[in-house]
C-alpha cells in the first residue's frame, strides 16, 4: 500500500514542471487581468491600486481605437476562415489527383507558411505599393488598368491584408485537407461511380462529408488565429489608414503599452475573451451539427 501511494505521487511529480510554467505565464496573467480591469492601474498609478468599478468597461465601448479593433478583427477572422477553408479544399482536391508534379506543387503552395508573417508583411508592402517598385500596380499598368491603392485606401486596406494572408496560409490549410483526403478509401469513390455519380456529385456526397474532421481543425484555427492577428498588421499598415486595419491585438497593445492605460487594456482583454468564447462555442456547435447530419 505504501508503495502504491508512492507510485501515484510519482505520476503527479511528472506534471509539475509543465504546470508551473503554464500556470505562471498563461493562467495567472489571464486571471489577474480580470482584477486589473476594475482598478486604476496605469502608467501614472503603478502601485497601491484601488478599485474603481466598471468604469474601464464603459471606456472600452467609447474608445474608437478598441471598437475599430473589434470590428476589423471580426471581419478579418470571418473572411480568413471562409476563404482559407474553401480555397484550401479546392487546392487539395486538385492535388489529390495522380499528378506527376504533386510533391513539388505541394511544397510550393506550403512554402509561405514557413515564413514569419512579419517578413511576409514587409515584402507585400513593396508588392502592393503605388510607387515605382510596386510590382502588382506595375502589372496592372502594363495591362492598361488603373493603379489600386491597396494599403492606402481605408476601404480596401483590410481586404488587402486578407489577400496577403490567404496567400500565406491557404497552402497550410491545403496540407491538412490533403492528409485527410489520403485517408479516404478509394472504394467509396468506386461505389459512387457504379451508381453513376458525376465528379461534382462525388465531391459533395463523398469528399466533403469525409473532410469534416479537417474542416473543423482548419476553420477553428483560422478563426482563433484571425481574431488574434497582430504581426502582419504591424508590418503592412500599422493599423492605418485611420483605424481601418486596427485589430484587437494592435488596439490592445497600443492602449496598454503606448498610452499606458493598463486597466483599460485589461478590460478590453476581458471583453475580447468573452467574444472569442462565444464565437468559438457557436462555431463548434455549428460544425458539430454538420458532423451529426452527415452521419
Amino acid at each position: 500500500m505504501q508503495r502504491k501511494l508512492g507510485r501515484e505521487f510519482q505520476y503527479s511529480i511528472l506534471i509539475i514542471p509543465a504546470l508551473i510554467f503554464y500556470v505562471l505565464f498563461c493562467v495567472y496573467p489571464f486571471l489577474t487581468m480580470f482584477y486589473y480591469s476594475v482598478t486604476d492601474y496605469s502608467v501614472a498609478q503603478m502601485t497601491n491600486l484601488s478599485f474603481i468599478g466598471f468604469e474601464n468597461y464603459t471606456k472600452v465601448f467609447d474608445n474608437d481605437l478598441l471598437m475599430a479593433g473589434f470590428k476589423n478583427s471580426l471581419l478579418y477572422a470571418i473572411l480568413m476562415t471562409v476563404f482559407q477553408t474553401a480555397l484550401g479544399i479546392i487546392l487539395a482536391v486538385f492535388l489529390d489527383r495522380k499528378l506527376a508534379t504533386k510533391n513539388i506543387l505541394r511544397s510550393v503552395f506550403f512554402l509561405p507558411a514557413v515564413f514569419s508573417p512579419l517578413v511576409i508583411g514587409f515584402l507585400w508592402n513593396y508588392l502592393m505599393s503605388t510607387s515605382d517598385f510596386g510590382l502588382i500596380n506595375r502589372g496592372l499598368n502594363g495591362l492598361g488598368l488603373d493603379k489600386i491603392n491597396f494599403l492606402g485606401d481605408a476601404n480596401l486596406a483590410l481586404y488587402s491584408v486578407v489577400l496577403t494572408q490567404l496567400w500565406q496560409w491557404t497552402g497550410w490549410a491545403m496540407v491538412i485537407f490533403l492528409a485527410n483526403l489520403q485517408g479516404i478509401s478509394k472504394d467509396l469513390y468506386e461505389a459512387a461511380e457504379i451508381d453513376g455519380a458525376s465528379s461534382w456529385k462525388k465531391f459533395w456526397k463523398v469528399t466533403l462529408p469525409l473532410l469534416q474532421p479537417s474542416v473543423n481543425v482548419v476553420a477553428v484555427t483560422a478563426m482563433i488565429g484571425g481574431l488574434k492577428v497582430f504581426d502582419i498588421i504591424m508590418a503592412l499598415t500599422d493599423g492605418g489608414p485611420g483605424n481601418s486595419t486596427q485589430t484587437i491585438m494592435t488596439a490592445y497593445i497600443k492602449t496598454s503599452f503606448t498610452e499606458g492605460a493598463y486597466n483599460e487594456g485589461a478590460a478590453s482583454g476581458v471583453v475580447f475573451f468573452v467574444v472569442v468564447m462565444i464565437i468559438t462555442l457557436v462555431m463548434m456547435k455549428l460544425l458539430g451539427k454538420w458532423g451529426r447530419n452527415i452521419q
Binding site: 503527479s12 496573467p29 510590382l135 488574434k228 496598454s256 482583454g269
Partner: protein, 277 residues
C-alpha cells in the same frame, strides 16, 4: 472515355503548375531583388540579376549584426523547444497513465489553453516579467514560450501515449522494481520519437516566428532576435529598399534552408500536429 480523362488530367496538371508559378512570384521577386541595385530593380523587377552581386547582403549582414541576432534566436528556440518537449512529454505521461480525480482536472486546465486567448493577459504578464527581473533578457521570451507551447505539445503527446504506447512493457518494468521516473525515460520516452518530431516542428515554427513577445520584452539591441532586428531596421532605413530585401531574406533564411531539406517531414509534421490536436 479513357483518352478524355487523360486529357483532363493533363489540363488539371497544367492549370496547377501555372497557379503555383503565380503563387511563387513574390518569393522569386524577393530572391532576385536581393542581388540588384535600386535602378536595376525598378527597371527589370522580374528578370534575373545582371550580375549576382552580394554587396547588398554584405550591408544587410553588418547592419543587422546577423551572427549576433541569429545566435540569440537560436538560443531562444533551442531552449524553448527542448524544454517544451521534455516537460510536456513528462506531464502528458503523468496525465495519460493516471486519468482521474485531480489529474483529470489538470488535463482540462491544459486543454482550456487551446481556446482561451491567453495573449490578453499581456498587461499582467508584463508586470510579472518585470517583477521577476527578467525584462530585457532572453529568459523572458523563453519562459513565456514554454508556458504557452506546453498546451498543444501535451495534447499531442497525450493522445499518442493513449493510443500507441503499450502498458505491458511498463508493468514488466514495475515488477522489476523500476520507478515511474525510470520507466518513463527508459521505456515510454524512446517510443515517443514520431510525436517528438511533430512537436519539434510545430513549436519551432511558432517560437521562431513569434514577434509579439520579443517586441514587448526585449528592449536592448544586445538581446534582439532576428525578427525584432528586421522590424527595427525597416523603420529606419526605408529609403534604400534594395538593402531591405536581403534583410528580409536573411530573416527567413534559417527556416527556409531547413524547409528546403526537410520539406516532406515538415509538411507531414504540420498536418499530423493539426489533425491530432
Amino acid at each position: 472515355m479513357i483518352k478524355r480523362r487523360r486529357a483532363g488530367q493533363i489540363g488539371v496538371e497544367l492549370m496547377m503548375i501555372v497557379l503555383a508559378a503565380i503563387f511563387f512570384i513574390p518569393v522569386f521577386y524577393l530572391f532576385v531583388t536581393t542581388f540588384k541595385t535600386p535602378d536595376e530593380a525598378t527597371l527589370h523587377p522580374m528578370s534575373l540579376p545582371e550580375n549576382w552581386s552580394f554587396a547588398n547582403y554584405k550591408v544587410a549582414w553588418d547592419v543587422m549584426q546577423f551572427p549576433h541576432v541569429l545566435l540569440n534566436t537560436l538560443i531562444v528556440t533551442v531552449t524553448s523547444v527542448g524544454c517544451i518537449i521534455i516537460f510536456s512529454s513528462m506531464a502528458a505521461y503523468g496525465l495519460a497513465r493516471r486519468n482521474h480525480g485531480f489529474h483529470r482536472v489538470l488535463f482540462y486546465l491544459f486543454l482550456a489553453g487551446m481556446m482561451v486567448p491567453f495573449q490578453m493577459g499581456l498587461v499582467s504578464l508584463y508586470k510579472l516579467i518585470m517583477g521577476l527581473g527578467i525584462m530585457d533578457s532572453l529568459w523572458s521570451v523563453i519562459v513565456v514560450n514554454i508556458g504557452s507551447g506546453c498546451v498543444i505539445a501535451i495534447f499531442l503527446f497525450h493522445s499518442f501515449i493513449h493510443s500507441a504506447v503499450p502498458l505491458e512493457l511498463e508493468e514488466a518494468a514495475f515488477i522489476d522494481g523500476c520507478s515511474v521516473w525510470g520507466t518513463f525515460w527508459k521505456i515510454a520516452f524512446p517510443l515517443l520519437t514520431p510525436v517528438i518530431a511533430t512537436v519539434a516542428i510545430v513549436t519551432t515554427l511558432n517560437v521562431w516566428n513569434d514577434f509579439m513577445n520579443p517586441l514587448l520584452f526585449l528592449q536592448s539591441r544586445e538581446h534582439n532576435v532576428i525578427l525584432l532586428e528586421v522590424f527595427r531596421n525597416i523603420g529606419q532605413f526605408s529609403v534604400d529598399w534594395t538593402n531591405l530585401f536581403p534583410m528580409l531574406l536573411l530573416g527567413v533564411s534559417p527556416l527556409l534552408i531547413f524547409y528546403l531539406f526537410m520539406q516532406k517531414y515538415m509538411i507531414k509534421g504540420v498536418a499530423a500536429g493539426a489533425l491530432k490536436g
